[in-house]
Subunit: 254 residues, 2 copies
DNA sequence: ACAAAAGTGTTACAATTACACCCATGC
DNA sequence: GCATGGGTGTAATTGTAACACTTTTGT
């Protein structure tokens, strides 16, 4: 039997699922859509869909992001400075029984977006919302990966979401990725509140300020100031060219 | 059209490809097999194969590892202390034209193994060998991901290999994974030579010794000693229970 | 005796932490 | 004035880098 024989390998459906994270009202939130079809009809799920025949995986993820949420993604592999969100591949999930209909392998992607207005639903989803990840995953239990949630996510999406959150939490330690949660111009305090929300800890504002302003290439002053947080006017910054933080931002012990 | 309709999504072949790394004679080496069939017949490639209908992705990777190399893998997700190698998912590659035969999505896995005897070939590969990654990838050019190699790998395997090497290089910084390159009992000097081979740098033996023996849970003395490296007898250690290194091992600037 | 590798001590430096303290605005 | 958040200064602590130096084997 030759490997050219299509009967030599089983056919799979391949999908992309999206873990879209943002920080809203001091909480890390994920985008979920209400499923309009069985299985898991009416349950919340991660946005996603089938990869098309001629499409790369990252392209499919960016397309689904636009279709289901209206967000515009920016793949860091293609360094065009689109004003879209950060997108990267997360992991692939292929348990034979993860979808009751058929054998589906899902390539999950992670998207980090600034705080945006309520998303619009699209495709076969009849609702979309930002939900706090602590609500979606329940109080994290250290043993398993998915905790007890009030309204469990469809499929294995709780595991995928937990993996995406963990990726985001660890990646902002040693990269400048936290700026992907901020608008184009932001203050040091706003960036600090991103770290605090993602990690769920309180950071010392003075030391944080010294750290981020003292790391070359992390932040570049844009010249302006703002008082939108109250208090003394704060300098506005844009994300600098640096992508790695060395030494890293240290996450305090829990 | 319902999503149950099999014509609603294109069928994919799903494979696993393996980046199997080890340290031999002070060099980081990868396992490659000679392809016995077109396309790329006669060229070196990463071991791999189709995922079966009822198989999880990690299971398929472990099966291919045994079939093509005789190695026994140990998935860290199932903490049975098998004496096998470390196995973890790396990334998924799905460019529509990465395989000229058909649409193939490959879920690459990373395996870290101790220095083992020459592997045996199996399956449809008619040869297998350990090859230095610098030979396989050429002198790394910082711009692209795959350099000029003397004998290029089949498919996009140079990119996959480069990604696997980069994952290994960064992961031994902040985890105890370097011990996966060592036999069950090893000396501090042998562990240091692993770091030096993977990173391609020289480390101070004295500071390295203090660092690894001073990190709780990284190494546990096994009681014995050895002089297999010459010089004064060295204490033998086993890998401790710790999986993360905090603070991390610092990789010197190039 | 000598080479080679293991292991310990010490000093200088880099970075983080935990503060005290001042600055500039809105109310 | 006063609360609020922005920003700078400083001392104690932790960890690393760069050595000198001793220890224990094989030849």
């Amino acid at each position: 039997m030759s490997p050219y024989d299509p009967s030599a390998f089983p056919p799979f459906a391949v999908t992309v699922d999206l873990v879209v994270l943002t920080v809203r009202r001091h909480a890390l939130c994920a985008l979920v859509v209400r499923r309009g079809e069985p299985p898991f009809q009416g349950r919340w799920a991660l946005p996603g869909g089938f990869v098309r025949d001629d499409e790369d995986l990252a392209t499919a993820a960016a397309r689904e992001l636009v279709e289901e949420t209206g967000l515009c993604a920016h793949d860091p592999a293609s360094p065009a400075p689109g004003n879209g969100a950060h997108l990267e591949q997360l992991a692939t999930y292929g348990d034979p029984r993860r979808d009751p209909r058929m054998r589906v392998v899902s390539v999950a992607h992670l998207v980090l977006a600034p705080d945006l207005p309520a998303p619009r639903a699209g495709g076969d989803a009849n609702g979309a919302r930002w939900a706090s990840v602590t609500d979606l995953l329940g109080r994290e239990d250290p043993a398993g990966r998915a905790g007890e949630e009030a309204e469990p996510l469809a499929f294995d999406h709780a595991v995928i979401l937990a993996d995406g959150v963990e990726r985001a939490r660890s990646k902002i330690e040693y990269s400048s990725l936290a700026t992907a949660f901020c608008p184009p111009e932001f203050t040091v305090g706003e960036l600090r509140r991103v770290y605090e929300a993602v990690w769920g800890v309180a950071l010392d504002p003075r030391n944080f300020h010294r750290k981020v302003t003292g790391t070359p290439g992390f932040l570049v002053p844009s010249g302006g100031t703002t008082t939108r947080q109250g208090g003394r006017p704060a300098q506005l910054f844009r994300a600098g060219g640096a992508t790695v933080l060395n030494p890293p931002m240290l996450r305090p012990e829990v």
